[in-house]
């Protein structure tokens, strides 16, 4: 499929465009958080606690009189950081395992496939819990432990794709010309698996972000006064009847971001699907 046709399909794909727009707004907000937010995320003002959303405070204030709008603006940085870390770990582990298992096959494939199956059977949330119990709560630990059990899907996909590509004529030709295995993997096989990896990771991102902020919600990830959306939510739980806005807005921000990634992923899948 020509590059031009791919761009054309992307330009016509409503889901992809909507998703990209949503994602870009989150990205811009994160980058320019300092300028957009009227207050610092940890700026307290006890006299102004529990002000409902309105002119002065767009999303209202929390128990410490912190501006929720500013906190949510700053929180976008954390959400994107989670996304970036998960993607980085998932792709580096998943792609390497999939490529090696698919390309070399044999014993190596057997061992790697067993590790993949094993990881698949690990209960993700509980593994994070175990790590946090031992090492203490931290966003990074939660993210890493979530990502470390979320790569098997990617590895399986890359493995089967690699298996189907490695016997194609252009790969055989490269092998006949004496190219090393490493060079064949990097130059011929990796580029051909990239599409599927991008789609898969984008589609898994919302789930990763939601479960990580969920752990922050339980108090196991980000610690106060971090503007992690999950943490803000858990702070709001105690004031559900008095100040429901504390719980509502971070949830909406999460949905906005998750929907953005999801639409982007679904759009990409359509665009990269040669059948459509």
């Amino acid at each position: 499929m020509s590059r031009k046709r791919t761009y054309l399909k992307a330009a016509k794909n409503g889901m992809f465009i909507t998703g990209t727009v949503l994602f870009l707004t989150v990205l811009l907000v994160a980058v320019f958080a300092d300028r957009i937010a009227p207050h610092k995320y940890d700026e307290m003002n006890i006299e102004k606690a529990f002000i409902p959303p309105g002119r002065a405070y767009l999303f209202g204030t929390d128990e410490f009189g912190r501006c929720l709008f500013s906190r949510i603006i700053y929180g976008s940085r954390i959400a994107l950081k989670i996304g970036l870390m998960v993607v980085a770990i998932q792709i580096s582990v998943g792609v390497s395992v999939g490529l090696l298992a698919g390309y070399f096959g044999g014993k190596l494939d057997m061992i790697l496939s067993f590790i993949t199956d094993l990881t698949w059977a690990m209960p993700p949330v509980v593994l994070s819990l175990a790590i946090v119990t031992v090492l203490g709560p931290s966003l990074e630990r939660v993210v890493v432990s979530t990502a470390l059990v979320s790569w098997p899907g990617c590895a399986r996909m890359v493995r089967s794709k690699t298996q189907s590509i490695k016997n194609m004529p252009f790969v055989e030709a490269a092998r006949a010309l004496g190219e090393s295995d490493l060079s064949i993997i990097v130059r011929y096989i990796l580029p051909n698996t990239l599409g599927i990896v991008i789609v898969l990771t984008t589609l898994q991102l919302p789930g990763a972000i939601l479960s990580t902020t969920g752990l922050s919600f339980l108090g196991l990830g980000s610690q106060p006064p971090s503007p992690d959306w999950g943490l803000i939510l858990s702070e709001g739980v105690n004031y559900v009847s008095k100040a429901p806005w504390i719980s509502i807005f971070p949830g909406l921000a999460l949905i906005y971001t998750a929907v953005g990634f999801n639409l982007m992923g679904e759009g990409l899948r359509d665009i990269l699907d040669p059948r459509t």
């Binding site: 199956d117 094993l118 059977a121 690990m122 209960p123 993700p124 949330v125 509980v126 593994l127 819990l129 175990a130 790590i131 946090v132 119990t133 031992v134 090492l135 919302p206 939601l210 479960s211 902020t213 969920g214 752990l215 919600f217 339980l218 196991l220 999950g230 939510l233 709001g236 739980v237 559900v240 009847s241 429901p244 719980s247 509502i248 971070p250 949830g251 999460l254 949905i255 998750a258 929907v259 999801n262 679904e266």
Partner: protein, 312 residues
């Protein structure tokens, strides 16, 4: 069939052992000395050494692991540091609540998701199909714990129809159930829809038409009958995800299950309980996978034969 089950079981045991090794390694990362966390800090050093010896903590890590495993096999998962109760007892008292919640949630999810998936597949390409897929996908993007709070605000605080948390009879099940069912419908709908569409393209469906079956009979006896095999198997493969996912929801609603137990244990650094829950959930995952494989074998004669051939 028996051989096949045994083989699956063997792999399952291997997975549980490997998972426990992973967990044990994580525990080794713990800074400081486990004894000092439990024991009275005023104890003299030689008493601590004695205690260490008594608990086997002076031995190399693999010996400690074997001790731990030996106890685990005897059903002894250790003692809770916080309450002094046996971990096995704690888990046994909480497990039914988790299984009740996750199991009911899974059943309700499939009762709603499968019919919707069928409708979407039969009306493929129509507005209704697109609407169903879109709407349920959006539901997947809602964070469960946020949705839980919303439900509590509306049904428990504003309307006072349902209990806000804890377990006080069947009414308590409603809100946690809604929280766990709604986001999952999208996945079930998609699996059902794509399996039905894939089956409808199979050559044997053409055969069924050609021999004169009515469109309805072909749909029911040849498309649905075959498409529901992978859908049923997916039920069992998804169950463990729901169980481990329920950890967060249980805490929002103070549901007295394993998720609540483990969260409390983390707050009090109660490592034996965390370990126990981890091993328990891994074991449940493995069991669900095995059950899924067996059900697949029962429903699909082709797999049954693979199983029998594998015996040679």
């Amino acid at each position: 069939m028996l051989n096949y089950v045994l083989k699956r079981l063997a792999v399952g045991v291997l997975v549980i052992i490997s998972a426990s090794i992973v967990l044990f390694s994580i525990m080794q990362l713990m800074p400081g000395d486990p004894i000092r966390m439990v024991a009275d800090p005023r104890l003299p050093p030689h008493r601590i050494e004695e205690l260490k010896r008594a608990w086997g903590l002076d031995k190399p890590a693999y010996v400690q692991y074997l001790y731990w495993m030996k106890n685990l096999l005897r059903g002894d998962m250790g003692t809770s540091i916080a309450t002094g109760q046996p971990v096995g007892y704690l888990i046994a008292s909480r497990l039914p609540y988790t299984l009740l919640l996750a199991g009911t949630a899974m059943v309700v999810r499939y009762l709603i998701g499968v019919p919707l998936g069928l409708i979407a597949a039969l009306r493929q390409g129509t507005k209704l199909d697109r609407l169903l897929v879109m709407a349920t996908t959006m539901l997947m993007m809602i964070p469960g714990y946020w949705f839980a709070i919303l439900l509590m605000m509306v049904f428990a605080i504003k309307l006072r129809w349902l209990p806000i948390s804890g377990f006080q009879g069947p009414a308590s099940l409603v809100l946690p159930l809604m929280t766990m069912v709604l986001p999952g419908i999208g996945g079930t709908l998609r699996v059902t829809r794509s399996e039905v569409l894939d089956t409808a393209r199979e050559p044997f469906v053409l055969t069924a038409h050609a021999k004169g079956l009515s469109a309805r009979a072909v749909q029911v006896y040849h498309i649905l009958r075959n498409a529901l095999i992978p859908v049923t198997v997916s039920f069992f493969l998804n169950l463990p995800w729901l169980i481990s996912g329920s950890v967060i929801i249980e805490n929002v609603f103070a549901w007295p299950g394993m998720g609540r137990l483990v969260w409390g244990a983390i707050q009090s650094q109660d490592l034996p309980v965390v370990q126990g829950v981890f091993v328990m959930i891994t074991a449940l995952t493995v069991v669900c996978n095995i059950v899924g494989d067996i059900v697949a074998g029962l429903l699909d004669p082709r797999i049954r034969v693979e199983i029998e051939e594998a015996r040679e």
